[in-house]
């Protein structure tokens, strides 16, 4: 793979020939010595999550003695029973689910429409609007959160899921990412269909969107992650516990049930599991989304 211009066999010759190698020969390990660094650190990263899962099926007595048990003596589902029965976790889960679903869908639809118009359609002021939109990406949320709260209160949305959905129906990130992707598609395909009399919407739906899967999944993945995991805005916009999201519910629940660690950890598992499953199921898309937005910055 490296010596393209060399004749066959040259690569092997080069690697077996003595070369100025400053490496000392280690006594041979049956595995690469890098595992000695990688394996313990990987364990360090994994242990906290494993510990949550284990504690969620322990009894409170096992957890609250000192030193605590490191392995559950038997499967105790009391924590889950409490969280699903007495507490409002199912309600909070549903709230988080609705907010995430609506936000992701809205970002896909509105981001596609906006991104396509900015990429392909001509209209007065498009440059200015795009620039303005890009500039808003640099505004920290802390600067807008107080007035956004006041706006939502004017609209009568405080303490409803609407207050959580409306401000993030479409983000400049979604619009801009999709615009960049649409610009990278060959223009000829669309123009041909357009001249043949297809409407813009038809072209968008039939020709552009089928080619845009990677960009759409990036928008969906990153929007879901930030919506599901957000705490700051729900904390500001929601007071009543029937409207809590999972994140807000979990932290409040922990505050009220300080010694019932099994139940708190069961709640934690329920909060983390959807994102974890989504990540493990679509790991490649996840990591690609993050690196592509990171590397292109």
């Amino acid at each position: 793979m490296t010596t393209v211009s060399a004749p066959p066999g040259a690569a092997q010759a080069a690697s077996s020939a003595p070369r100025p190698d400053t490496r000392r020969r280690h006594p041979r390990l049956p595995f690469s010595p890098w595992h000695l660094l990688l394996a313990p650190t990987a364990l360090l990263f994994a242990v906290p999550l494993i510990w949550v899962a284990l504690s969620s099926v322990m009894s409170n007595a096992e957890i609250n003695r000192f030193p605590p048990a490191l392995w559950p003596s038997h499967l105790d589902l009391g924590g889950y029973r409490y969280v699903l029965g007495n507490a409002m976790f199912p309600r909070w889960f549903a709230n988080s689910f609705v907010v995430s679903l609506v936000t992701v869908t809205a970002n896909l639809v509105l981001g596609t429409l906006g991104g396509y118009a900015f990429a392909r359609m001509r209209f007065a002021g498009s440059r200015l609007l795009l620039g303005l939109m890009l500039a808003t990406m640099a505004i920290p949320f802390q600067l807008t959160m107080i007035p956004t709260f006041l706006v939502m209160r004017q609209l009568g949305l405080i303490d409803t899921l609407g207050a959580l959905i409306v401000p993030s129906l479409v983000t400049p990130f979604s619009v801009f990412l999709l615009r960049q992707f649409f610009l990278s598609l060959p223009r000829e395909l669309e123009e041909a269909a357009w001249i043949d009399g297809c409407s813009r919407l038809h072209v968008l739906w039939r020709i552009v969107l089928p080619l845009s899967r990677p960009a759409l999944s990036t928008v969906a993945v990153l929007t879901f992650l930030s919506t599901w995991n957000d705490l700051t805005w729900p904390l500001i916009a929601i007071n009543h516990d029937t409207q809590y999201t999972l994140q807000l519910g979990l932290t409040t629940f922990q505050g009220q049930h300080h010694t019932q660690w099994a139940a708190v950890m069961a709640g934690n598992v329920i909060t983390v599991l959807p994102v974890l499953l989504a990540f493990l199921g679509a790991q490649k898309a996840f990591i690609q989304s993050i690196t592509s937005t990171g590397l292109k910055g």
């Binding site: 490296t2 990987a42 906006g114 007035p147 983000t171 395909l189 904390l235 994140q247």
Partner: protein
């Protein structure tokens, strides 16, 4: 790709071009229909609030009764508020500890993973998983592990014969512990970005240097690290902005305590605006943060241009 229509009509007769022009005239209205939801929401919920925030920062506002114009009093009070300067100090310390550590560990692990060894995929997954865990869940999880009385961390220390620690309840430990928790979740991000960048370093470049007799360390210093410079600047910008805006983890674990030792600037803003009902004061501190973030962003953008200019 094969089921798409072939673009035969593009180079067709001139009347198709006239049709194109005719359709373009009706296009502006269509385009506005497409962009108006996004424009309304994005501009409406950012440009309007920015101006509103600015006006607010010159007012005394408790979010209930009508506000009162106070001029630059809020900013003047901020300059003298010991809680604000403590929040600034805490935020800067947190950033100074977290950003270099997350990038260094991320780079080290990425370099270790960027070779042909077994379980690369598994390692990457394990390192990256904490990144998708919400700050809330992280906070609840580590409050449990680091609980001074019942936590597993003190149990392990007990086994090793080390006395129990206060962790998040100890004013001198709380902030470094928060940094450690953030490292657990944030290092994977740096690792994944670095790893992708490493895989973009042309193999021919490395092979050429190796044939010229470069050893491993020389290769790292003169080939690999220079190639990573643009990504490093990006990560520096990203991680700095993220850590200056830390809030969720602090809210869940320490609520700014003990003794204000973990009150970071966004926590201060939130407290002023939504707990103490001094929204004007909160808006003023948010403006200070935003200006600081803007300056850092500009400086690093400038560095980035130069780095990219040098490597291109």
């Amino acid at each position: 790709m094969s089921r798409l229509p072939t673009p035969i009509t593009v180079s067709g007769p001139p009347d198709s071009r006239r049709a194109l022009r005719r359709r373009r005239t009706g296009e502006a209205a269509m385009a506005w229909t497409f962009v108006s939801p996004a424009v309304l929401i994005i501009i409406g919920l950012s440009v309007v609030p920015i101006i509103w925030s600015l006006l607010l920062s010159f007012q005394a506002d408790d979010l209930v009764t009508p506000s009162r114009w106070v001029g630059p009093d809020n900013y003047r009070a901020l300059a003298q508020d010991p809680h604000f300067s403590q929040a600034l100090r805490n935020t800067l310390l947190y950033t100074a500890l977290y950003v270099p550590a997350s990038m260094a560990v991320g780079l080290l692990l990425a370099l270790a993973l960027n070779r042909r060894i077994r379980f690369v995929g598994l390692y990457r997954t394990l390192y990256f998983v904490p990144f998708v865990v919400s700050a809330t869940a992280q906070g609840v999880l580590f409050s449990f592990i680091l609980d001074p009385e019942f936590g597993a961390a003190n149990a392990v220390l007990h086994h090793l014969g080390i006395p129990s620690q206060g962790f998040l309840t100890d004013p001198s430990q709380a902030l470094p512990v928060l940094v450690a928790i953030s490292l657990w979740s944030g290092t994977g991000f740096c690792l994944v970005i670095y790893l992708a960048a490493l895989q973009d370093v042309p193999a021919s470049l490395i092979e050429a240097a190796r044939l010229d007799g470069a050893g491993r360390l020389q290769l790292l210093r003169h080939v690999t690290l220079p190639a990573l410079r643009p990504v490093t600047v990006f990560l520096l910008l990203w991680q700095t902005i993220e850590s200056l805006q830390t809030f969720d983890l602090v809210y869940v674990t320490t609520k700014g305590g003990p003794l204000g030792s973990t009150t970071v600037i966004v926590y201060f803003i939130w407290q002023q605006a939504f707990q103490n009902a001094t929204a004007g004061y909160g808006a003023a501190s948010a403006y200070v943060l935003a200006v600081a973030l803007g300056l850092i962003g500009l400086i690093l953008q400038f560095v980035r241009r130069r780095v990219q200019g040098a490597s291109a």
